[in-house]
Symmetry: C2
Subunit: 236 residues, 2 copies
């Protein structure tokens, strides 16, 4: 029912690209189709993938939603403050990520986003139905854009998320390689790195620079010191 209601409210607000990550429901079920009413084509054309990075392929910006407002390691924003950022021309194509009806997104999954939205709700019963949360965010996205206080970096081009993801993979591989990370703790530690970089809203040039840095570092540790020739790309 949630996926059907989501399709309907997406179409109500002019959105059409639905990506389902490892769905545990049948989007063609009678329940889903019934709730979609006149938005069945959004269910039919939905893309199904296995992982969030696959879902974000081709996107340059992403905002994740979370129902948790306490003990959250991320700076949380309201839909009204954060969502217009997805519509800025330099941030297109953009993704808005929702979690499971029962337990939302894991911290690891949240880490694929640049910014984090929490819909302010009553402490007595904070947990919104998934389709309600989607509806409210779609409604906010459809609002006329108000002039926003500009972020530190809005004039530069955000890096495509798969490029940032490739960088994280490279970084993790490097950190394992150098013994900074151990395989059994790599994920939790990498989350903290992701948080830092995601908050920074990396540009393509910045990712290229970081990748160059670690490529060079990788090269250096794999070659005996006597053979090292400093690379101009290297930075301290």
């Amino acid at each position: 029912m949630n996926v059907g209601s989501t399709a309907r409210v997406m179409k109500n607000f002019g959105l059409e690209h639905l990506v389902l990550v490892n769905p545990q429901c049948d989007r063609f079920s009678p329940e889903a189709m019934k709730m979609a009413v006149h938005a069945k084509e959004i269910l039919e054309s939905a893309i199904v993938v296995d992982t969030i990075p696959q879902a974000l392929q081709g996107c340059v910006s992403a905002i994740a939603t979370t129902g948790r407002d306490l003990h959250c390691p991320f700076p949380l924003e309201t839909p009204r403050t954060a969502l217009p950022w997805l519509l800025e021309p330099t941030n297109q194509p953009a993704a808005l990520i929702f979690g499971r009806e029962d337990r939302g997104l894991t911290n690891e999954e949240l880490n694929y986003a640049h910014r984090f939205v929490h819909i302010p709700s009553s402490p007595v019963y904070p947990s919104l139905n998934l389709a309600s949360a989607v509806g409210i965010c779609c409604y906010e996205l459809a609002q006329p854009i108000q002039p926003q206080p500009t972020l530190a970096m809005t004039s530069t081009e955000l890096a495509p998320l798969e490029l940032v993801e490739a960088y994280y993979q490279q970084l993790e591989s490097f950190l394992l390689d150098i013994g900074y990370l151990y395989p059994h703790t790599a994920n939790s530690r990498m989350e903290k790195f992701r948080q830092i970089y995601n908050r920074a809203h990396l540009t393509t040039n910045e990712v290229a620079m970081l990748r160059g840095l670690f490529r060079q570092a990788e090269w250096a540790i794999n070659h005996p010191k006597s053979q090292n020739s400093p690379d101009p790309n290297q930075e301290p």
Copy 2:
């Protein structure tokens, strides 16, 4: 399912008074209870009445929602513009009126409200699910209040809606009495009067004044001219 989802999203945003007007569903059905999840007590404590005026008993302000944006005889506002008005201390208690899932509120039903909200949606598929519309309006009501351009009259006290309704009944009776209205056209013509007065956001004193006017007029037409003694309450 709509009534259950409505109860849930109401509780999510700290609202608890649900009034059902001539409901065609069973609020205690398994579907309703399932959708309400942890808001079953809102379904259980919901008040059931036969008519909208009964539902509005005790309220001083009311906003109605409508999915129609064309050919609507009312000035339509967005939730963001209109809903904070319900929260102003002088407008309490306040009501937000939603119509049927399939066809919303009739023009006659809309006429019980002071203001009219339309959720801006895609012309391709403008019709929101009822619970989605409720969710968006509850979300807007829970937003921190922004300074609004003040309406012409905000400092004065709005009249209780049952007082306004009593005035409309008196007016209709009077207009039938004087042959201005005919029984078969009274409703449609009275709608236009309601629109005028509803847009005016009448205060208690103003309603008393209008009622005094028509009481006096009624008295006058029921007494032969020679017996008339002008009443100081009478106005041209």
